[in-house]
């Protein structure tokens, strides 16, 4: 397909390009950079929590800043740009168009992200990724908080521009011979997740502006001292960011829809049910936001409505799992690295979903809410499902991007260590939450169960850390010195199925 890296090109040519694969490459490299930065913060946090008392981080404020930037970075600067990278590479080719619909807009959407990332990292705010008022208004130190708000504002604009581009590319620029019902599931995943962003994101953009003017003291939307209501912010925030969970997870599922049939050497079990589940998820994703707010004093009726809305998302997610398992059933699977990541991702997706059902049930939520259970739960999604799908897909697209093969053994070691580490960290954190350890705490009392489980989690995190070092070495070394890939069939699975990679769009 692209082979961007096969013949040397001056870096400015890639940077100022508007070609979709060049912009995809920029997204890819930047998002991986932020993956390692955010991951380093996670390792520091886990090292700090290995024992009660102060370990490596000197004070609580630094710790609070670190988990805030960790979350913000990995969600907004790794997961979303990584999905954009994959979308940029594959969506135009899958809908058989020469580029994204608006190439310049595409480049602008990318170039908004580095300054936003710089604002977030240079500011290093401390009010959690949720920027909870009134803390964020009256108590959070500036200018870090203001820089975070501006950074998020810019990222919101970037993701709206990117989403418009994906929607128009798929709906208006697909080949005239191709009906929407023939668009591959990966492209469908970008269509649905982009539509969610277009509906959800403006709400948070408004809330951010209100937060900013509240901080400046000229308004009091969320400040009780000025007659405002912090719960209003919670509604606006979660109206955007619960659907945003699906924005993160849907492209990762789309990536698995590419990997799993290919390595099962069998067409997907049901294309229609994949589309149905994507569309259903993108709709019911909007009916569950306030399940994050059971403990804010909501009435019984409100809680019931949002519990039902949350449980309604389960059958749609379960359809995907069925589709994957049915595709693999009775097939000749080739367990190459991408397939192992995809299968691991499905297993952890199922576990995360099961934990989510427990959270949604009202009485159980009061046990788990704001404890490490929640941390374990959503990390099983963002790490276990989304990062696993994304990393699997990165291995899958690697030969097409670089023209070379990665080292298969290192890829498998990376998977095995990451899987063990992920289970150790995040399953343990579920149990830790049941023992009552709150999230976002710098230090904890020496309760024996808490210490043991924190240590298991920290060791798991170090295992993931080592595996990620192997991953980085593999990616860098193989890009220059790896075996040249057989572009016709790099994984040796037989080429009977549709490969989008045969297409190559000329640079312009």
């Amino acid at each position: 397909m692209v082979l961007e890296l096969q013949k040397p090109r001056p870096i400015w040519q890639i940077m100022f390009s508007t070609h979709h694969t060049d912009v995809g490459l920029l997204y890819l490299i930047m998002s991986l950079g932020f993956l390692f930065l955010g991951g380093a913060l996670a390792l520091a946090i886990r090292a700090e929590l290995f024992l009660p008392g102060s370990q490596i981080i000197g004070d609580a404020m630094t710790f609070n800043r670190m988990f805030t930037v960790h979350g913000t970075t990995l969600i907004f600067l790794f997961i979303i740009p990584f999905a954009s990278a994959v979308g940029n590479y594959f969506v135009p080719i899958m809908v058989r168009y020469k580029d994204m619909a608006y190439p310049k807009l595409n480049a602008i959407a990318f170039w908004l992200i580095p300054p936003a990332g710089a604002l977030i990292w240079l500011g290093f705010a401390d009010f959690t990724w949720y920027a909870t008022p009134p803390y964020s208004i009256i108590s959070a130190p500036g200018p870090a908080a203001d820089m975070w708000i501006f950074g998020l504002k810019i990222l919101g604009i970037s993701s709206i521009l990117g989403s418009i581009n994906f929607v128009v590319t798929i709906m208006r620029c697909k080949h005239p011979d191709m009906s929407l019902g023939q668009v591959p599931l990966l492209a469908w995943s970008f269509l649905t997740s982009s539509l969610i962003i277009l509906v959800a994101m403006p709400t948070f953009a408004a809330a951010l502006l209100m937060l900013l003017t509240d901080r400046l003291g000229v308004s009091g939307f969320f400040n009780p001292a000025m007659g405002g209501d912090p719960i209003a912010y919670a509604h606006l925030f979660w109206f955007t960011f619960h659907p945003e969970v699906y924005v993160l997870v849907i492209p990762a599922i789309g990536m698995m829809y590419e990997i799993i049939p290919r390595f099962s050497r069998k067409p997907i079990h049901s294309y229609q049910s994949g589309i149905t589940a994507f569309v259903l998820l993108s709709i019911v994703g909007f009916s569950s936001w306030a399940h994050h707010m059971y403990a804010t004093g909501m009435s019984f009726t409100e809680k019931t409505v949002f519990m039902v809305g949350t449980l309604a998302a389960v059958p749609a997610s379960a359809l995907h799992v069925f589709n994957f398992v049915a595709t693999m059933w009775n097939s000749r699977i080739r367990f190459s690295t991408p397939m192992m990541w995809a299968i691991g991702g499905i297993a952890l997706f199922f576990s995360a979903g099961a934990g989510g059902v427990a959270n949604a049930a009202m009485p159980l939520d009061f046990t788990t809410h704001d404890t490490y259970w929640v941390v374990g739960h959503f990390h099983l999604f963002v790490m276990g499902t989304i990062a696993f799908g994304s990393i699997g897909y990165l291995y899958y697209m690697y030969p097409y991007v670089t023209g070379r093969m990665y080292n298969e053994t290192m890829g498998k070691v990376h998977f095995v260590m990451s899987f063990i580490g992920t289970v150790m960290v995040f399953f343990t954190q579920h149990v830790l939450g049941l023992y009552g350890m709150p999230r976002r705490i710098y230090d904890y009392p020496p309760i024996p169960e808490w210490i043991t489980m924190n240590q298991i989690a920290s060791i798991g995190a170090m295992i993931i850390g080592v595996s990620m070092a192997i991953f980085l070495a593999n990616m860098i070394y193989s890009a220059g010195k790896g075996k040249p890939a057989n572009i016709e069939d790099p994984f040796g699975v037989g080429g009977r199925y549709y490969y989008p990679f045969e297409a190559k769009n000329p640079h312009h």
């Binding site: 959690t128 008022p133 403990a295 949604a360 709150p438 976002r440």
Partner: protein, 142 residues
């Protein structure tokens, strides 16, 4: 490739049935939990950076420690003076956000004498990790 669709329908049916069961059980349990006993003693709980204040019905105030007796029901009126906190006695599954400008309710009835941890479960700034207290349950007969 033609394949039969009925396993998928059965599977989806089973998932929906499971969700209905979870939802119904949760609804029933929550309905019972939210039924406040009428004779509950009211304790006003105020969170502020970074400690808890308790005010009993008779006007006595406690800071950081809360003394209650077995065999009585207590209704907490939870609020905050500055930023959001969350009042939590994990051993009794008492959890309610303390939000400035609002008064939220939650109740419990201790059944055994002993000591339990009180903590803040909503991020509230620098010393959030140490916004802890003690619940001391006493047996009035002993």
């Amino acid at each position: 490739m033609a394949h039969s669709a009925w396993p998928e329908w059965i599977y989806v049916g089973v998932v929906i049935a499971l969700m209905c069961w979870v939802g119904a059980e949760a609804w029933e349990a929550e309905r019972l939990v939210e039924h406040y006993p009428e004779d509950a003693h009211v304790i006003k709980v105020t969170g502020q950076q970074w400690f808890w204040t308790f005010e009993h019905e008779d006007g006595t105030k406690e800071i950081g420690e809360l003394h209650v007796e077995t065999g009585k029901a207590y209704k907490f009126e939870v609020t905050s003076k500055d930023v959001n906190h969350s009042f939590n006695i994990h051993d009794y599954v008492v959890l309610m956000d303390a939000i400035p400008g609002r008064v939220n309710h939650v109740w419990f009835a201790p059944d055994k004498a002993g000591e339990h941890d009180i903590q803040c479960r909503e991020y509230c700034g620098l010393i959030h990790y140490n916004m802890r207290g003690k619940l001391i349950v006493e047996d009035p007969s002993s």
